[in-house]
Symmetry: C2
Subunit: 256 residues, 2 copies
């Protein structure tokens, strides 16, 4: 195995998540696999980093042929600390994140800890892919993911990705997908975001929920559209948020 | 004041940060100001959301003419909960975030809680600007920020911003800036990211630090370049990370 490529696997649902095990099994044999995942669930952590508390990394039992480690931090902490410790000085062929329990389509990508890990790897120049299954349950059936996860990963390891780009892959959960579509993120926003409560002392508190509004549901260019039609979607995403097409317009607005 | 525009102010350094006070004072008179900020520092929280614990919002003493509230969550939680509670049903003319104690230039933008709040507002269709001063200290001198913060905010309220775009504004801290440049985010990455420690029980732990490597320091098209030359920089940024220019290339790679 010493000449085989090293693959780092992360996620945001924690080292104990079934989706992590599925991702490891899906790419078994493609390389030497190291999994470094959060010790507790980190959903919605985006690209958050831990700036103010000690981080630790602890060996866990292997999963299949993967060496597994847990970190008491965010998905981005996992990538950074993996590169600093177990992968120090090693060339990493790919970073895979997931498989997330739940969709990261549409504008969910910006909140996603799964994609936070992929963005981090991408900024280090490593080909990176985030995978998500459109099912939140811990008991979700990941069996239909394997084929797509493996073929997309193999293509990326063999051919690379454009500079500064990583992939956000979502997999529908209803039945065997019809195929794969490379598309844009769907446009949308969240509404009715909280349920309001009153605690025993009479004070209000709020718990996050929300309903996603697709603002362009007719467009056949988006992940939301094709996921609804039972396709795996691949969105090429760029960690650098600069809107290069708007430099002149913004210069005119602020009177540079 | 009932006809004046409503301005929401957030930050990531907490409701007690001097940068929040400076931002409020800088835009005084431009509208009715509501500040909703985290009750504790949230640096590096990116677009993280709190998915699993009760959020509360509490009235704090006014700062200048601003109504002030604290939220026990992230910067994005502050924007979402402000819209759900104190701003429910109100039209918001602009969301301002900051003034951050420290740079959000180069690739720092992806980790920034300050910019997380701006991205969130942008996705709700509200003109949004994140402001940062290149000085980490709680005692930083914000006096040179006021003029630039006010003029950029006024231009954005008067003229709007392109759809799906918000602004990442960084302000140099050495002396009065020479002017304003609308530019791209500098390209770079972090290295030497942790200091290694051993605890009294002999177990290793790690604290985040890091050195930023500018991978294109000669380019005069970036925020890093112009901040070094004492200019205020404005980077138009887009919450949607889709790399629309790479759809075809990625289609070829994964064999869609």
């Amino acid at each position: 195995m010493s000449d085989s490529p090293t693959i780092l696997i992360c996620n945001d649902d924690s080292v104990d998540a079934p989706g992590l095990r599925c991702l490891i099994e899906s790419v078994s044999g493609l390389g030497h696999i190291i999994a470094v995942a959060p010790s507790t669930p980190q959903s919605g952590k985006s690209s958050a980093i831990t700036v103010d508390k000690p981080l630790r990394i602890a060996r866990r039992p292997d999963i299949g042929q993967a060496e597994v480690y847990a970190v008491n931090g965010t998905p981005v902490d996992c990538v950074k600390l993996a590169m600093h410790t177990v992968l120090s000085g090693k060339k990493v062929a790919a970073v895979l994140s997931g498989i997330n329990h739940g969709s990261n389509a549409g504008n969910c990508v910006i909140y996603s800890g799964t994609m936070g890990a992929a963005f981090e790897a991408c900024m280090l120049g490593i080909p990176a892919i985030g995978f998500s299954l459109l099912h939140h349950s811990w008991e979700a059936d990941f069996s239909q993911c394997g084929h797509f996860v493996r073929s997309i990963t193999k293509a990326v390891i063999d051919k690379g990705l454009p500079k500064g780009i990583c992939l956000n892959v979502n997999i529908p959960a209803r039945c065997i997908p019809n195929g794969v579509k490379v598309v844009k993120a769907g446009e949308g926003y969240w509404t009715e975001e909280y349920v309001d409560y009153i605690d025993p002392q009479g004070r209000p508190f709020y718990l996050l929920t929300g309903r996603y509004i697709d603002t362009n549901p007719e467009s056949d260019q988006t992940d939301s559209y094709w996921l609804d039609r039972n396709y795996v979607t691949v969105v090429p995403v760029r960690p650098d948020p600069t809107a290069t097409d708007c430099l002149e317009a913004v210069g005119n607005i602020i009177g540079e």
